[in-house]
């Protein structure tokens, strides 16, 4: 079996009485592409924020490649080589596409290499036609793509995305699926997602969150066929 790259032990994140993440034990292995699904308010984003240092867990531990990162800052976690995209688009609206990607590449390369790296990423994500546009001028789907380009420019070996296809339609979703497959060739991935069709087209292994805990973890086909999961998605209690 592949080496474990990320795991959590007994992870808890409580907001007052709300147990947004409740005793979660989670394991991700090298090269894996794992989807996290679950109904609204299941705790997916909170779990994501704990992993990426955006929330400080109430208790429990997070290990990334064996190193405990539970209380690290976001920038420190990012520097381990982890690419992160939050649920809300997080880009620099007043800067150009090129500059947004450059800032990410520059973190790990000198100026010359960073310039080269930006060109590579632009090619890979196929956004050569909009490099000089400001992020604020772009349509939603394009912004999401650029955000992935930002993530990629740092050459991450682990990529964690919160709802990369949210608010996207038809063609944009297909492009996103392609990009994610492409990223997965060189990086392990955790993808929080809502859209079942999207999940079916990318996922193998799926983790289902419900009320802060892991309800089920299995192959996508089994998960989708499962009665409990269906009930949860239709809003019935299990």
């Amino acid at each position: 079996m592949n080496e474990i790259v990320l795991e959590t032990h007994n992870l808890n994140m409580h907001f007052g009485g709300v147990k947004a993440v409740n005793n979660v034990d989670f394991t991700l292995r090298e090269n894996e592409l794992r989807c996290l699904i679950g109904p609204n308010g299941a705790g997916k984003s909170t779990f994501f924020k704990c992993l990426t240092g955006l929330n400080k867990p109430t208790s429990g531990e997070i290990y990334i490649r064996g190193e405990e990162t539970t209380h690290w800052h976001t920038h420190q976690i990012s520097r381990l080589g982890i690419g992160i995209k939050t649920q809300v688009p997080n880009v620099m609206d007043g800067l150009s596409v090129w500059e947004n990607i450059w800032l990410s590449a520059r973190r790990y390369h000198d100026v010359k290499q960073a310039n080269r790296r930006v060109e590579e990423v632009i090619e890979r994500i196929k956004i050569g036609d909009i490099t000089k546009k400001l992020l604020g001028e772009l349509a939603h789907g394009q912004r999401q793509r650029v955000e992935l380009a930002i993530v990629l420019a740092a050459d991450p070996w682990l990529v964690i995305l919160d709802e990369p296809a949210a608010g996207m339609t038809g063609q944009d979703v297909e492009i996103m699926v392609d990009i994610i497959r492409e990223i997965n060739r060189s990086a392990a991935m955790i993808i929080v997602e809502h859209d079942m069709q999207f999940i079916q087209s990318i996922a193998n292994q799926v983790t289902v969150f419900y009320q802060g805990s892991i309800l089920m973890e299995d192959h996508v086909d089994n998960v989708l066929a499962d009665q409990k999961v269906r009930d949860v998605y239709l809003g019935r209690n299990v």
Binding site: I84, T86, N90, D93, L95, S96, E99, Y108, N115, K132
Partner: protein, 349 residues
């Protein structure tokens, strides 16, 4: 090597600035001009931290005052002006560094940042005001409370304590320092450090997500701004030949902010325009008693906030561009969100 248009603009700009420097004394007294230049440097310092780093500091006058007082105190103790001058930059920069570190490592949000910088200015003002009794001495310099510190060595030619720089020469020195400060910042904001700082000003969380230690960058930028304000303070001390607690006043801080709003902070030239134009206005208004100064500035502020939130600089610069190239930009709406320098796709080509 071919100069790209960026450099061409810069060289033309510097050339025009030098022409202004030589011509202006024929129209306005150099004594007034020097003060406008000093204010421009102060405005530039806030323009840097606010416009580029996204840090709205309500206490830029604190660093200005600290620079002026440092200069005065060290000048009394040391005599020759070179070292006091340098210390007048270093002391406020260090102070800003420490204050910045506390605020940014403490992860204060914008509102608290405003409050803290405001309160620090007030405390300094109160403190300096209360130092009238003779035991408040630093070396041989008496802090003097509300009377301030008079009678210190003003700026001299480095190494020659008897060769004072004053009158027209002082004006030229101030102007050259302004040009150098502008150029320094021009290159700073185009460096990797500057570009990251601008990115942080745009979206702090994104900057963190891609691995930048936002706290460090903001602290350094804040210290640079503090140092530059201190430099302006040192020049001010030499200009006024006395330093008083009024330098730390909230009124002074507010004025810097108004200059920046009127001039605009999306480019470095904005705060300079703001300081010069409003400085002149204040000067002319001061010669009459019919209209109240503060009323006029209040009205101007309201007009700009409501109708010209990007300030004058974008307008001035588009006129300037038309003169130079006849190129026109259609992207002004988004411009306000980021300093112009970062918006080109390929900065370093």
């Amino acid at each position: 090597m071919m100069l790209d248009s960026n450099y061409k603009n810069l060289i033309i700009g510097v050339f025009l600035a030098i022409v202004c420097m030589l011509v202006l004394p024929y129209f306005i007294e150099y004594y007034t001009l020097s003060l406008l230049i000093i204010y421009s440097i102060l405005a530039l310092s806030l323009g840097l931290v606010w416009g580029f780093g996204g840090i709205l500091c309500f206490g830029q006058a604190a660093f200005f005052g600290l620079g002026a007082y440092s200069y005065a105190v060290f000048a009394i103790n040391i005599g020759e002006s070179t070292l006091p001058f340098l210390l007048a930059i270093i002391v406020p920069a260090t102070f800003a560094f420490i204050l910045g570190a506390i605020m940014f490592y403490g992860r204060l949000t914008d509102v608290y940042l405003g409050v803290i910088t405001l309160v620090v200015t007030l405390i300094l003002f109160r403190f300096i005001n209360s130092t009238a009794s003779p035991e408040y001495m630093i070396g041989t310099a008496h802090l003097g409370g509300f009377n301030g510190i008079p009678n210190f060595q003003t700026l001299n030619i480095p190494g020659m304590p008897d060769a004072y720089i004053w009158d027209l020469d002082f004006y030229y020195v101030c102007f050259v320092i302004l040009i150098l400060s502008y150029l320094g910042l021009h290159f700073l904001v185009r460096s990797s450090f500057g570009r990251v700082s601008i990115g942080i000003g745009q979206n702090e969380q994104r900057a963190e997500l891609i691995g930048y230690d936002v706290r460090k960058y903001k602290t350094i930028l804040f210290a640079v701004g503090g140092g530059l304000a201190g430099l302006a303070g040192a020049l001010y001390a030499s200009w006024a030949e006395i330093v008083t607690p009024g330098l730390f006043s909230l009124g002074q801080s507010a004025e810097v902010i108004i200059w920046c709003i009127v001039g605009g902070v999306t480019r470095l030239s904005g705060p300079i325009f703001g300081a010069v134009i409003l400085g002149l206005l204040k000067y002319y208004l001061g010669q009459q008693t019919l209209i109240d100064n503060n009323l006029v500035f209040g009205v101007i502020l309201v007009i700009f906030v409501l109708f010209l939130p990007q300030g004058l600089a974008p307008a001035i610069s588009s006129v300037w561009k038309k003169l130079l190239t006849a190129k026109k930009s259609t992207r002004n709406k988004l411009r306000k969100r980021a300093p112009r320098q970062m918006q080109r796709g390929h900065l370093n080509e």
